[in-house]
Amino acid sequence: MSMQTGVVTSPKQLRSYAPETDVSVASPAPRVETAPSRPVAAQRNLRTEPGPVRFIIITLAVAFLSVFVVLPLVVVFASAFSKGVGAYLAALAEPEALSAIRLTLLVAAISVTLNLVFGVIAAWAISKFDFAGKTLLVTLIDLPFSVSPVISGLVFVLLFGAQGYFGPWLQSHNVQILFAVPGIALATVFVTFPFVARALIPLMQEQGTQEEEAAISLGASGLQTFFRVTLPNIKWGLLYGVLLCNARAMGEFGAVSVVSGHIRGETNTMPLLVEILYNEYQFVSSFAIASLLAMLALITLVVKTILERRLDEGEAVDGD
């Protein structure tokens, strides 16, 4: 399949842009005829501030980010290793820690898979067809982003709790949803619901339907078209959505905390175990688990940056 996408006007992506302070090279500043007394240097730097102002702004920005963002991250690792590497590794080898890691991986695998499938299906319906109420549908998909994590857990307690709508029925049929893996997975699916769809919809809208239409008119089936034409086009975007979805699924605290029941060694995910150990003053153990989650966040950020660059390049190739 080697069809051209045609002209795709893509919005400029953040990272591909190299900002400049000195614009004199790129676009010569217009001559200032009316103010001949203006010094030459000022003309050249029409788009920047005086040196001291620049210095203050950069210092403020760097200081603020260092205190509020970098320091907390450093504290995590410093506290985790405060009693040495041995204590750190021992904390991670605790059965409770291992069971939390296992549960977190399981829940993430379930919710990422479900949201991956849903995200692709929803993005196909939304981006490849025109229909009334599309904006509303996208807003509804985005809804979990604006619901407090605690409320995201609460809704499932109201459905499946002992006093909930389906509680009595579930009890009489001996089905355990709350305070067990299904409840934790459901709450996690809820909070991570929009990630994949959100990453795909703008990308697929931009790519249009021409390639797929060509494939169909050449006799390909719907599924063939999707796997041979659409999927290769959206693979980086898909990965991007999955990456963010996974990070949130593994790190989710509020929603999971409400539905988990905190049964030791059974329904505690990693973030919940961080809380329990911290409240028991087992700081090294708590921060050891926290350090794993912090590393997950850092790796996610690095891969995200790489993927964003890929997505930019993809667009640059399309645009030419």
Binding site: R47, V75, S79, W124, S286
Partner: protein, 278 residues
């Protein structure tokens, strides 16, 4: 977006994918949220009002909304300064600090919570020097404020950044060549054109802070009527099996965040109307 969507698409699968989307959306998102609203109808209006206006609920709502607003204000100012430094200046580590902005998004909230608490606790790296100045951060409302600032900073930066990057350089060059001072150009020309993005970032940070739980509860102290946030009160009511009470508080918060989404949507329309280029 000239090639967006065909008017009459010949592609297959619309019925199937649309049906699956609506079904899955209903089961996972809409039904549970509807259940929440349904639950509040078990309370009479008087009871609902009683829960909402009880001293403890009102204090919790006041703490959550008030501190979120204050934190969003700090984010607005500091976010603007950070965006300006990242977009307009070159300095060592600029790319690194650009990436660092996303950490509050990526770091699990519980991790942020214990880290901030450790940092600002009486013997912490920042808590100790602050204690000598007589400022107590951890386990006070100031702690909640600090956590909310942490969680909100990326919203302002990431909303304003693309707009500032795309800003037409000719406008400010024109302003300057017409004799405007740099100060004038920045405050009368550049910042006004950033207003929709700034307000959107502010609203997003505000909404996030209202609902925030994990990064706040460790550092908050959680003293009823003083440093207890609304999401925590929901959790407490749930653990007491006072479901209706928990639900009433949740509904108030949910309605507030829906209003904020609506506002953000309006802002986005306004921003689009103002810049016909995009």
């Amino acid at each position: 977006m000239s090639t967006a969507v065909a008017r009459r698409s010949t592609l297959p699968g619309f019925g199937l994918t649309m049906g699956l989307t609506l079904t899955w959306l209903s089961v996972i998102i809409l039904l549970p949220l509807a259940g929440l609203f349904l639950k509040t109808f078990e309370l009479s209006l008087d009871q609902f009002w009683g829960v909402i206006t009880s001293r403890r609920t009102l204090s919790a709502l006041k703490v959550s909304f008030g501190l979120s607003f204050a934190a969003a204000c700090v984010n607005l100012v500091m976010g603007t300064i950070i965006v300006w430094a990242l977009v307009r200046y070159r300095f060592p580590g600029r790319r690194l600090f650009d990436a660092i902005v996303d950490i509050p998004f990526a770091l699990p909230t519980a991790v942020a919570g214990v880290a901030l608490t450790q940092l600002f606790a009486q013997k912490g790296w920042l808590g100790a020097p602050l204690a000598e100045l007589g400022i107590k951060v951890a386990f006070t409302p100031i702690g909640i404020f600090v956590a909310m600032i942490f969680i909100g900073i990326p919203f302002v930066v990431r909303t304003v950044q693309p707009v500032l990057i795309d800003l037409d350089p000719e406008i400010e060059e024109a302003a300057a060549s017409l004799g405007a001072t740099r100060w004038h150009t920045v405050f009368r020309v550049i910042l006004p054109s950033l207003i929709p993005a700034l307000l959107t970032g502010f609203a997003l940070a505000f909404a996030r802070a209202i609902g925030e739980y994990g990064s706040v509860i460790f550092i908050a102290g959680n003293l009823p009527n003083v440093s207890e946030i609304a999401p925590l009160l929901i959790v407490i009511r749930l653990s007491e099996f006072r479901y209706a009470d928990a639900t009433a508080i949740a509904v108030v918060m949910l309605v507030a965040s829906f209003l904020i989404i609506f506002l953000i949507n309006r802002l986005q329309h306004w921003a689009q109307a103002r810049s016909p280029v995009h």
